[in-house]
């Protein structure tokens, strides 16, 4: 068994001191290269969990280890660098910066991380070439690379965002409902592409959605309610 990339133990999080716990996770782990599908109804705390994994939120207690590093123990700015170095994020919609070109949007991940930059160019190609290669793998032909990002279709935009999450082969790719704005057919195609590229990059994929139908093709499928003992999650589920 390969070693765990994400490890959570006895983690609790709440938004403010008086509230109920939004998340209470006794234990959760994801192995390197694993593709995990996590589902739960709206408001169950999926995005909150991703915030914790990204090091933007800090748990009240418990352990949260990414690649063996205890994330909450790090200084906030070191956590930000850690995220830049090891985690690729992909969101629901409007993932791109409107005033940057397609290529520059992809390269954004490399701007804040020397490690991602180094890994992207490890094969000997330039950063731009690597970005173009990834885009092509994600079925975006060259003619689209120079187009303004605001004039791409939503599906095309999501694929550019996927390239950004994947460039520099981060150990972890976290996707927060990246397909919710796509129709059923496109959803399937996009998921296939994403899974394929994560496998190529050797990244662990944590895919979050409220739609269980997308779970096909993942190594593991679990509901947030099954890992988190919160009232909110259970009631909603």
């Amino acid at each position: 068994m390969t070693e765990a990339v994400i490890e959570i133990e006895k983690l609790r999080f709440r938004w403010s001191a008086g509230d109920d716990f939004c998340l209470d996770i006794p234990s959760f782990a994801a192995r390197a290269g694993e593709r995990v599908f996590l589902y739960g109804p709206s408001g169950s705390g999926k995005s909150t969990l991703l915030g914790l994994l990204g090091g933007v939120l800090v748990p009240e207690c418990g352990r949260l280890r990414l690649l063996g590093t205890e994330l909450p123990r790090l200084q906030p700015s070191v956590r930000d660098r850690f995220r830049a170095d090891h985690v690729g994020f992909l969101f629901q919609q409007f993932n791109l910066i409107p005033y940057l070109s397609v290529i520059d949007n992809v390269l954004l991940s490399c701007r804040f991380s020397g490690r991602r930059r180094a890994r992207a160019t490890a094969a000997g190609a330039s950063l731009h070439a690597e970005a173009r290669r990834l885009l092509k793998h994600l079925d975006l032909e060259e003619s689209l690379h120079r187009r303004e990002v605001t004039r791409l279709s939503v599906g095309q935009q999501q694929r550019v965002a996927a390239a950004r999450a994947l460039i520099g082969r981060p150990e972890i790719v976290i996707a927060d409902e990246p397909t919710s704005a796509l129709d059923a057919e496109r959803q399937g195609a996009f998921l296939d592409l994403l899974a394929r590229e994560c496998a190529a990059a050797g990244s662990t994929l944590l895919f979050v959605s409220h739609d269980r139908r997308l779970a096909a093709g993942f190594d593991r499928e679990l509901s947030l309610a099954s890992i988190s003992r919160t009232d909110v999650g259970q009631q909603a589920a």
């Binding site: 994020f89 910066i97 950004r164």
Partner: protein
Amino acid sequence: MRFLLLLAARSAWNRRLTLGMTLIAVALSVTLLLAVERVRLEARNSFAQSVSGTDLVVGARSSPVQLMLYAVFRIGEATNNIGWQSYRAIAGNPAVAWSIPLSLGDSHHGFPVLGTTAAYFEHFRYADSQALTLAAGKPFAELFDAVLGAEVAQRLGYRLGDSIVLNHGMGDVSLAEHADKPFKVVGILARTGTPVDRTVHVSLEAMEAIHLDWAGGAPLPGLSIPAEYVRKFDLTPKEITAVLVGLKSRAAVFKVQRQINNDTTEPLLAVLPGVALDQLWQVVGFAERTLLAVSAMVVAVGLAGLVAVVLASLGERRRELAILRSVGARPGEVFLLLSAEGLFITVLGALLGVALLALLTALLAPLAQAHFGLAFRARWVSADELRLLGAVVAVGLIASLAPGYRAYRLSLADGLTPRL
């Protein structure tokens, strides 16, 4: 860091229309501020340079400020003249080294005409004790000779030997002309940067001569004395407007001043030009400081507008900030990104303002010279102006921290999922 600045620039370019408008507002306000500062400085300079080496200025009793205005700056008119006898008495005072009688009241195309004597060319000093020099010709010798200030000659295109006609009274357009007694231009003075440049100089006798057949501002009906006959009359002036006095010893200045002010035959006023200039500057200075304060306020308004625009853009940029956070930007970097924008616009506005000022100076300098006698030369930004610009940028920087801080707070609260 370099990437962040590049990002800030790209983002700003993306919103160039709104930011462009605020940039123009900032640039215009900076231009205004610098222009006011320049006018202020130039006014003060030409003020301080207008007279030098004169120990006392004497006129009919009025306020020192008013006396300086008409005797030195040739602005406005004297309410009263002083009698020739009084002038003789002052000139004859044993403490007095030299005296220059001044007779004002007529004009030529809006330029003041000054009746005086050869002593004017000999003793008058300006700036750092500089004497008047002739750029061409010689001082007046004949009765109807005139010596022009540099500005008069240049603006009206006069050369030596040209014939000019004086107008009665001051003002641009005057119907009453001394057309029957034209003057010949015999000399043109070198530029001084003082009111001398705007003056037409003639002899006291000529002043008397052209007014022989006049009374109370109009020609006497039925009486016309041709130019060739005026020499038969006694052309000693009966009245003059003011006197510039130089003393043998400066130590005597207060004594002579007291003597003149206590003269019982006529109510006279003698002032020390330095003291009177200071008083005059206080009057003008107040307006000038107010003007500077107002233009500083305009700059503040411009910068406030800038902050408002940057803050307003934050609403639509929350998503953008969340994306940057997700790829690893720290809240501090988000702060920098937003602060840089305001600072960037301020600095650009300041530079544009300077450029605009240079352009305006080039375009409007001739006008300012002609209408106000202020000489603006194209020049680099002075140390004082740099300090003003520095202050503008500093205030801009501080103001820009506001949107930066707001973005910082937002990105901490939003994390990776922007809330709208």
